[in-house]
């Protein structure tokens, strides 16, 4: 018999993640959206823990919930959201956009129902303690070149952000 707690926590965390995802795209106030997004990211980090990925969960909390969301909140403070709150929240093509998104959802349902066999139920046995070590071995071994390219990407992003946000270069 499968343990019950796993099932309970999966549904609980998915509910937290999806409900706060809904809040992100429906709130008027951008600060409320950002806070809901933080809750969603934390719920997702807990889902990563359930999938035996503690390192990715840690990176998610530190980088996403800690770093990127602080960036978002700072920018929300810099731009004037009071005016945006009183205006229309949805653009003119919102009906078409919603239809396109729901069509995409129907496609997902079709793929998951028809292609059920593509996603086997088996799970490989993962050691719980050595995850960080194994990730590091792969990251600095097989994916060394990709890792270097990622650092280059971050450098370009830093320079780009400074150039964009600076008044006069």
């Amino acid at each position: 018999m499968a343990p019950l707690a796993t099932t309970f926590f999966f549904y609980f965390l998915s509910a937290v993640t999806v409900v706060s995802g809904v809040l992100v795209i429906t709130r008027k106030n951008a600060v409320h959206s950002a806070l809901a997004l933080i809750v969603s990211l934390l719920g997702q980090a807990a889902l990563y823990l359930m999938l035996y990925a503690p390192f990715v969960a840690g990176v998610q909390i530190i980088l996403y919930a800690g770093g990127i969301m602080v960036l978002f909140l700072f920018v929300i403070m810099l731009v004037n959201i009071e005016k945006a709150r009183k205006e229309d929240q949805f653009n003119q093509q919102w009906l078409v956009g919603l239809a396109a998104a729901l069509a995409l959802g129907a496609l997902f349902v079709l793929v998951y129902v028809k292609g059920r066999a593509l996603f086997p139920d088996r799970a490989i046995l993962m050691p719980e303690q050595a995850n960080t070590q194994q990730v590091a071995v792969l990251l600095y071994g097989n994916y060394m070149f990709t890792f270097e390219i990622a650092s280059l990407l971050l450098l370009v992003a830093i320079i780009g952000a400074v150039v964009m946000a600076k008044k006069r270069i």
Partner: protein
């Protein structure tokens, strides 16, 4: 209740992805559009980590790279937003039409 398998996680990720797409296509506030893009990237991450449960750790490595990419994208996107707000005093995405005509 059925035990939790990979397809459960895929369904959650698909729901998050759809929410992100709806946010990108319908909202006017640029900040919330950028947050919806973060939701989409997170859905992809959840898929990758769920697949790493079947096919080995490579999915988790890719998830880390996607997070790096999301950080870079957020920095550049918010930089563009600040530059745009300085010029036009608005954060509405349908008023960003300088290069349209």
């Amino acid at each position: 209740m059925a035990p939790i398998s990979t397809i459960h996680y895929l369904v959650v990720a698909a729901a998050l992805f759809i929410l992100g797409v709806i946010g990108v296509l319908t909202r006017r506030n640029v900040v919330i559009v950028l947050m919806s893009i973060e939701l989409i990237l997170n859905a992809v991450n959840l898929n990758l980590v769920a697949f790493s449960r079947i096919w080995g750790l490579h999915g988790q490595i890719f998830a880390i790279f996607v997070i790096t990419d999301a950080a870079a994208e957020a920095a550049v996107g918010l930089g563009i937003l600040i530059a745009f707000f300085r010029n036009k005093e608005t954060v509405n995405i349908d008023e960003v039409d300088l290069m349209k005509w």
